[in-house]
């Protein structure tokens, strides 16, 4: 428990001291989504039809921005080595770090999604599934992305490789996340895709911290 508090508090403190880094993903999300509005005809009714895809892709791209820093900074200043020799379970540390990453970059996106969806003309009935889907889907991004960030941590060209490796792995998240919004848009029950998202989240929460820890150990051998 004390390890949880220590790692979590450290992440938050670091974020509080480098505010620009954590303000960028939500800002990026807002800009990407509004760019679609600029790109389309003014008040184009088609925009609402594409809103689920636009919002979900925007959320994914915004989450990618901060992923590279997740382990890179810790590796550069030696924190990661300290974690490795500290005796705390490394998979647990990975879990806490990914959780903190979600709190700092995923949660703001979940909160921003509703007003942006209203700007794109998404009907009110679809707002619930959108926010709920993002609340289930953005942690998946933090954990899957955290695993890939751990794989590429020591690499000189890791930054370019990271999105290429992350994006295929999160295809199911985007299919079911946007699917839930589309279902609600058409007046259907959004339950099934949301349950799928919850299942994916359970799988990523339970399996990926171990694999990410193995990847980090590999980077130090």
């Amino acid at each position: 428990m004390s390890a949880f508090v220590a790692i979590f508090a450290r992440e938050l403190k670091l974020a509080a001291r480098a505010r620009a880094e954590w303000l960028m993903p939500p800002l990026f999300f807002v800009i990407v989504v509004t760019l679609f509005g600029f790109g389309a005809r003014p008040n184009d009714p088609q925009l609402a039809a594409f809103a689920p895809a636009v919002l979900w892709v925007g959320a994914l791209l915004a989450a990618l921005l901060s992923l590279e820093r997740l382990y890179r900074a810790d590796q550069e200043d030696g924190t990661l080595e300290q974690l490795l020799v500290s005796g705390t379970s490394l998979s647990f540390a990975v879990f806490v770090k990914s959780l903190a990453h979600w709190l700092l970059s995923g949660l703001p996106i979940v909160l921003l999604a509703a007003p942006l969806a209203a700007m794109l003309g998404l009907p009110a009935a679809a707002l619930g599934p959108l926010v709920l889907g993002l609340a289930l889907g953005t942690p998946c991004l933090s954990f899957i992305g955290g695993f890939v960030a751990a794989l590429t941590v020591g690499l000189p060209r890791g930054g370019a490789l990271l999105p290429v490796l992350v994006l295929p792995l999160i295809v199911p998240v985007i299919i079911f996340g946007a699917g839930a919004v589309r279902a609600a848009q058409q007046g259907l029950d959004a339950g099934a895709p949301l349950y799928f998202l919850a299942a994916i989240l359970t799988l990523t929460l339970t399996v990926l911290p171990w694999l990410a820890a193995a990847a980090l150990r590999n980077a130090f051998e």
């Binding site: 020591g154 299919i175 694999l211 193995a214």
Partner: protein, 257 residues
Amino acid sequence: MNWTWFHRLGSPPSFYRFAERLAPWLGVAALLLLAYAWYGGLVLAPADYQQKDAFRVIYVHVPAAAVSLSLYVLMAVAGAVALIWRMKLAECVMIASAPVGASFTALALLTGMLWGKPMWGAYWVWDARLTSELVLLFLYLGVIGLHAAFEDARAAARACALLAIVGLVNVPIVHFSVEWWNSLHQGSTILKFGKPAISADMARPLYAGLLGTYLLCAYAILRRTQNELLLRERGTRWVREQLAAAAGNRDGGAHVS
């Protein structure tokens, strides 16, 4: 029964010699089977009552698609073996199967697109089977890209193994996608239990094509593994002896020292 030969296969020099003996047979068998499959499929088999001659894409498409999934499983299993037992040979097999698998995935996608145009009226539809096969291609390319980014071969292999194992989730999705979702892609016709849904004179070249393609993959992976072993063990004595022997053979044994 004496199993020491099996253990010995795990050491790079014995595996190299084993592959050297086995690969030519696999290559010749694959060539003969594929020649029969293509002649049988493109010339001998009757045209389909509904799809006419366009159905003949099946003789390339189905073997390529089957191999694309099998090789991913092989890659992930070899990766797991490499992670658990730290076997150098398993790492080489894993890395060797990635480009072969990626090529057949691309071939399956391309032939599928060419088949889709006359049958469905579109080269591409966004349904589960096609999309998940495309993701499979991205996963293969991700493994190849990740491997290329590392300098240390062993760290690279272990990182790729982890990535391959995570991507394994996609394999059952590709395989069962036509049953789980409503898909434009037709269901399986040859691997059904009981009576297959394809007539025997169409099926025979197809089975030969499947077997031939698997043998071709085995040939390609053995050869690539040999190359990988030579590259990784380039400082060792057995590689120098191997290369000296090969050079000696080429020069008609003029200066074997």
